[in-house]
């Protein structure tokens, strides 16, 4: 496989974009990424668009072709991909594969979602399409409920407390204050979090990410193109060392261990091998904290924190910017927001800014960064490892 480089990124703010169409958000992010990349549009050989619920919430499909049309791409293959909350990560991985395989010299990944115009009832019904509705749905389970089940087991097995998990919330909300793209950064106290409304015990309101609108885009190119445009680039190119996609059980009963996601463990293992890096080499990670306890589990599944220690590390500040491993310096899904299909591409945007040393919440000396995007009850996962090129 050929080497792949990121030469342009773009993103809207994540949050409420009242009155803006889903196409217009995707186009805004894609144009920013294209203009920054200095790549001719004629060279873009594939477009992948990550989106989960534009059908039920907007009555719109075929978004990949629509976005390509709006930004004047050639008659290239344009593909919408769906893997619930991992849709964006999957779009990025496919764009990388198009270049790595030699099928395209350049490709663009776009992620987009609009959710805030819909009622809570419509949104939760649409999101619940990511559940195994034959096996888990009849119990009345919801996604926060799934993580409530996992939290209780994590607490039982490892002694994780409300205070440990609140440390994740406080850190990500505080990181969000420093990120101008973030939807809801905040300075929170333990009391405010512990007194927030119960959702699915032990999950409370501040343990949940918000619903969001937003889009992000990334342009990837071959080594040949990267060299050709290097003089025109204002930023350093970022090398994609690995981009891996896996599947896990779609249903709860299929998980051997409810405090770990097989899809994440497998994806991380393959990504480390492919990138030839060790967990200790990773300077920062943007991981899938759809709920606070998910960050604890993900950080352990990715091998970045010892098993069972995720809550303790957060509480001790070891996952803060400047700590052992910076986790979600962007604010993560909890504070930056979670426009579902955009999230995975937005994570790439954040890591790229960190590796360019241009992030508003910069991790000191960042050289190797990771992203982790997880969908459904762990049914789809992507893990990517990026490196700044000197």
């Amino acid at each position: 496989m050929r080497k792949v480089y990121i030469v342009g990124v773009g993103s809207t703010t994540f949050g409420k974009h009242s009155g803006e169409s889903i196409e217009s958000l995707a186009v805004a992010a894609a144009v920013d990424a294209l203009l920054e990349s200095a790549v001719d549009r004629e060279q873009i050989g594939a477009l992948y668009l990550g989106n989960f619920i534009s059908g039920p919430l907007n009555g719109k499909e075929i978004l990949a072709g629509i976005v390509a049309d709006r930004i004047g791409l050639q008659n290239i293959p344009c593909t919408k991909v769906e893997g619930a909350c991992a849709s964006g990560g999957i779009a990025f991985r496919h764009a990388c594969m198009a270049v790595a395989s030699g099928d395209a010299e350049a490709a663009i990944a776009v992620g987009v979602e609009t959710m805030t115009h819909a009622t809570t009832k419509q949104t939760t019904a649409a999101l619940n399409c990511a559940m195994d509705n034959e096996n888990d749905g009849p119990s009345g389970l919801t996604f926060p409920g799934l993580f409530g089940l996992a939290w209780r087991l994590h607490a039982e097995q490892f002694g994780t407390t409300r205070q440990h998990v609140s440390a994740v919330v406080k850190k990500n909300k505080a990181n969000g204050v420093r990120n101008p793209l973030a939807q809801m950064g905040a300075t929170l106290s333990d009391e405010t979090i512990a007194d927030s409304a119960p959702i699915c015990d032990p999950i409370q309101l501040y343990d949940c990410c918000p619903t969001s609108d937003g889009a992000a885009a990334v342009v990837v190119v071959s080594e040949v193109i990267a060299k050709k445009i290097s003089q025109a680039l204002k930023h350093r190119a970022i090398e994609v060392l690995a981009s891996v996609q896996t599947r896990g059980s779609p249903s709860i009963g299929g998980h051997q261990n409810l405090v770990s996601f097989d899809a994440t463990v497998t994806a991380a293992k393959r990504a480390y091998e492919m990138a030839n890096v060790k967990p200790a080499d990773v300077d920062l990670v943007e991981l899938h904290d759809c709920f606070s306890i998910a960050e604890v589990i993900d950080s352990e599944d990715l091998g970045l924190v010892p098993r069972g220690q995720g809550g303790y590390w957060a509480h001790e500040g070891r996952t803060a910017v400047g700590g052992d491993i910076a986790v979600n310096a962007s604010g993560g899904l909890l504070a930056k927001g979670h426009p579902v299909g955009a999230t995975g591409v937005g994570q790439i945007y954040e890591v790229v800014q960190q590796l360019r040393h241009a992030h508003p919440n910069q991790v000191p000396d960042a050289n190797i960064g990771m992203t982790h995007n997880l969908g459904g009850a762990g049914v789809a996962c992507t893990v990517s490892i990026l490196r700044g090129v000197a």
């Binding site: 009832k121 096996n135 119990s139 009345g140 409920g145 089940l149």
Partner: protein, 106 residues
Amino acid sequence: MIARMRCVQCQNTLSASATVCPACLSKDAESFSLPSDGRLLSWTTIRRAPAGYPVVAPYDVVVVELAPGIRVTGRLVAESPPPTMGAHVKSVGHEDGCELFIVTTL
């Protein structure tokens, strides 16, 4: 007893929605009975039910291990004693595809 399906060819326990055994791809399945009581692996109290769900929140969703490696996602009936980790639970029937459990004091 709780009825489940298993593969005739390789005896693999099948999920409720399986039409083919994922281990051997056989389509021959047979019903068998699992014990109606098991151990509570975890639970959560749902305070906001999914849209259109016929049960009024709050209610407890439980994951029960009926036999080694065989787990069911179900719901506690309203009159159940409060759940605790590892508690014994017993099936008291099912409703709209959902297994219903009660915590039993030993």
